[in-house]
C-alpha cells in the first residue's frame, strides 16, 4: 500500500467516512501493525494542531476588532498613577544610577587609600589612652588608700544624705511651692534647689495624699521673692491630643520633656489624673505639666512601669482644690494664685527660659 493511499484511509477512518465493514478491516490492520497505529495518532495530533492554529488566528482577529473600538489613550491617561519625575527617573534608569554610584564609591575609596587617609595617622590617640590608663591606676590606688582610712575611723552618728529627689514649682512668687506628696512623705527636712544651684530650707505647709499633692513654703532667710509667676493655673479640663511639656530634675540638670495628653483618666481609670505620653523619670515627680500656651494643667505624678511611655499627672483643678482646703492659720503669707498668663505668646524656648527660675529640685533628707 502506498503512503498516500494509507493517508487517505486514515483520514476517512478518522472522519468516520468508512463503511462498517471497511472500518472493521482497518481496525484489524491497526492492531496487527503498530506503525500504522502510530501514524494514525501522529496524523490526528498534527491535524488537530492545524485546526487549533486556525482557531487561534480567528480568535485573535476577533479580539483585535474589539480592541480597535477602545479609546486606549484616554483610558491610559485616566489610569496612569503619575509618579514624581524622580521616581520615574529611578524606574527607567536605576541600573545606570546604581553603576554610577558604585563607581563613585570605588573612586572615593581609592583616593582615600592613596592619600593615606584610610590609616590612622594620629599618634595622639595612643598617647591619650596611655594617659587615661595612668589616671585610672592612680584612681584605684587612691581608692584603696581611702578604704583603709575609712576602716580605721569608727562611725560617729548617722551620716546625712539626701534620700529622695523630686521636682517642685512655684505657686506664688513669695515662696509657696507645690510638689508630690509621695516625694516628701516621711521626710525629716525638705530643701529646694533652684536652677542656679542655691538650696533653701522649706517647711511642709499642707499635704493632700488623696491627690498626691504637697504644698511647701520656703522659710530660708536667703530666699528672695521670685516675682509674679508667669503661668496661670487652668481650671478647665484639657483635651486629648493636646501638646504638653514638663520641666523637671530627673538628674542634676533641669530637663525639658515634650509630650502629649493621651487620656482623660490616669492609672487604672483614676479620674483625678491625666494619662500622658511623655518621657519622665522618677525625679520628674512634682514637676509642672504645661500646655502649649504655658498654662499649668497638672502636676506630674509618676509613670506606669509596664507600659513604656505612659505617665500620669494630677489635674490642675485638683491642685486648686487642695490649695483651697489649706487651713488659713497654717499660712503666714498670702497664697494668691496668679491669673495672668505671660507665656502665651512666647515661643517654646522662650517659655522654658522664663520657667526655669520657677522650677525647683526638691531634696528630701531623713535618717
Amino acid at each position: 500500500m502506498k503512503d498516500n493511499q494509507l493517508l487517505e484511509m486514515i483520514e476517512r477512518y478518522l472522519n468516520g467516512e468508512m463503511t462498517v465493514e471497511e472500518s472493521a478491516q482497518f481496525d484489524a490492520l491497526r492492531k496487527k501493525d503498530a506503525t500504522i497505529d502510530a501514524k494514525i495518532a501522529e496524523h490526528k495530533e498534527f491535524t488537530a494542531l492545524l485546526k487549533q492554529y486556525n482557531e487561534r488566528l480567528s480568535l485573535q482577529s476577533r479580539l483585535d476588532e474589539i480592541h480597535d473600538e477602545i479609546d486606549v489613550h484616554t483610558l491610559k491617561d485616566d489610569l496612569m498613577a503619575h509618579p514624581s519625575w524622580i521616581v520615574q527617573l529611578w524606574r527607567h534608569h536605576h541600573s545606570k544610577i546604581s553603576v554610577a554610584a558604585s563607581v563613585a564609591i570605588f573612586a572615593a575609596l581609592i583616593v582615600l587609600f592613596f592619600t593615606g587617609n584610610l590609616t590612622n595617622p594620629d599618634p595622639m590617640f595612643k598617647k591619650l589612652s596611655k594617659e587615661v590608663k595612668l589616671v585610672k591606676d592612680q584612681q584605684t590606688q587612691l581608692g584603696q588608700q581611702q578604704s583603709t582610712i575609712i576602716k580605721n575611723i569608727r562611725p560617729t552618728g548617722p551620716s546625712i544624705s539626701e534620700k529622695f529627689r523630686g521636682t517642685g514649682f512655684a505657686l506664688t512668687g513669695n515662696g509657696y511651692i507645690v510638689t508630690n506628696y509621695h516625694v516628701i512623705s516621711g521626710a525629716d527636712s525638705v530643701y529646694v534647689q533652684n536652677a542656679a544651684g542655691e538650696s533653701f530650707h522649706t517647711k511642709v505647709v499642707y499635704t493632700e495624699p488623696q491627690y498626691d499633692v504637697a504644698i511647701l513654703q520656703i522659710n530660708d532667710p536667703a530666699f528672695k521673692n521670685l516675682g509674679t509667676v508667669p503661668y496661670r493655673f487652668k481650671k478647665a479640663k484639657s483635651d486629648l491630643g493636646e501638646t504638653v511639656y514638663t520641666l523637671g530634675y530627673p538628674g542634676d540638670e533641669i530637663k525639658f520633656g515634650p509630650g502629649s495628653l493621651t487620656a482623660a483618666t490616669g492609672f487604672k481609670g483614676d479620674t483625678t489624673e491625666y494619662e500622658l505620653f511623655i518621657p519622665v523619670n522618677p525625679g520628674n515627680s512634682g514637676g509642672p505639666l504645661l500646655d502649649d500656651k504655658g498654662n499649668v494643667i497638672g502636676v506630674i505624678t509618676g509613670k506606669q512601669t509596664q507600659t513604656s511611655g505612659a505617665a500620669f499627672a494630677v489635674k490642675s483643678n485638683y491642685l486648686l482644690k487642695a490649695i483651697q482646703s489649706i487651713p488659713a492659720d497654717s499660712l503666714n503669707k498670702s497664697l494668691i494664685l496668679n491669673t495672668k498668663n505671660s507665656l502665651a505668646k512666647l515661643s517654646r524656648t522662650q517659655q522654658v527660659e522664663k520657667l526655669r527660675t520657677y522650677v525647683f529640685m526638691v531634696k528630701v533628707y531623713n535618717q
Binding site: Y53, H67, I70, K76, L79, H92
Partner: protein, 188 residues
C-alpha cells in the same frame, strides 16, 4: 478610574456560557470589561498600551481555551483569574526585557497561576511553529492545507478551485503538501 465604572461588566457565568456558545457579544463585553484593569497594571509597571494589549489578549485566549476545554471551575472570580494570568505574563515579560525593578505595583488580589501560564506558553510555541511552517510552505500548498484542514472544505471544492482535472491528482498534491508541511514543522 471612571471608565472602569462606565463599562458594563458581564457576570462570570454569562461569560462562560457565552464562550461555550461562541457568542461574539459576550466576548466583546468580556474584553471591554476587564481591559482597563490590565491597562492599569501594565502602564503603571513600566509598560505601554501595546504591551498591555498583547498581554491582555493572551490572557483572554488562555481563559477562552480553558473554558472551551471545559475545565474552568468558578472557584475564583473571573476578574481575579484574568488579573493573575496577566500579572504572571507581565512579570515574565518584564524579566525578559530586563525592565523588572524588583517589585510590581498591584491593583487587585491574585492567585498563583504559574503552571497554567507555563502550559499555555508551551502550546503557544507549538502554534507559532505551525504558523512559521505554513509561511515557509508557499503556494499553492498553503491554501490547499488551509482549505482542507483548517476550513474543512471538501476535496471536490479544492479540485475546482485549483483546476485539477481529477480528484486523484488533487489528492496526490494534497498528500505531498502535507508531507512537506510536516517536514517543515518538525525541522524547526
Amino acid at each position: 478610574m471612571n471608565n472602569q465604572l462606565n463599562v458594563e461588566i458581564p457576570s462570570d457565568s454569562e461569560v462562560i456560557i457565552g464562550i461555550l456558545n461562541n457568542s461574539d457579544s459576550v466576548l466583546k463585553k468580556l474584553y471591554l470589561g476587564y481591559f482597563p484593569m490590565i491597562l492599569q497594571l501594565v502602564v503603571n509597571n513600566n509598560g505601554d498600551e501595546d504591551e498591555a494589549k498583547d498581554i491582555y489578549q493572551e490572557a483572554i485566549i488562555v481563559l477562552y481555551n480553558k473554558v472551551k476545554r471545559g475545565d474552568f471551575e468558578l472557584s475564583s472570580k473571573l476578574k481575579t483569574y484574568i488579573y493573575s494570568i496577566c500579572r504572571r505574563l507581565w512579570l515574565k515579560r518584564l524579566k525578559q526585557l530586563n525592565r523588572y525593578g524588583g517589585d510590581i505595583k498591584d491593583f487587585q488580589e491574585y492567585l498563583p497561576v504559574e503552571d497554567e501560564v507555563e502550559k499555555h506558553e508551551e502550546r503557544d510555541m507549538q502554534l507559532n511553529k505551525m504558523g512559521d511552517a505554513l509561511k515557509l510552505l508557499g503556494e499553492p500548498c498553503k491554501t490547499i492545507m488551509e482549505d482542507f484542514y483548517m476550513h474543512n472544505r471538501s476535496m471536490q471544492d479544492i479540485c475546482e478551485r485549483f483546476g485539477y482535472t481529477n480528484a486523484d491528482n488533487a489528492k496526490t498534491q494534497k498528500y505531498k503538501c502535507l508531507q512537506r508541511l510536516k517536514k517543515l514543522f518538525f525541522q524547526q
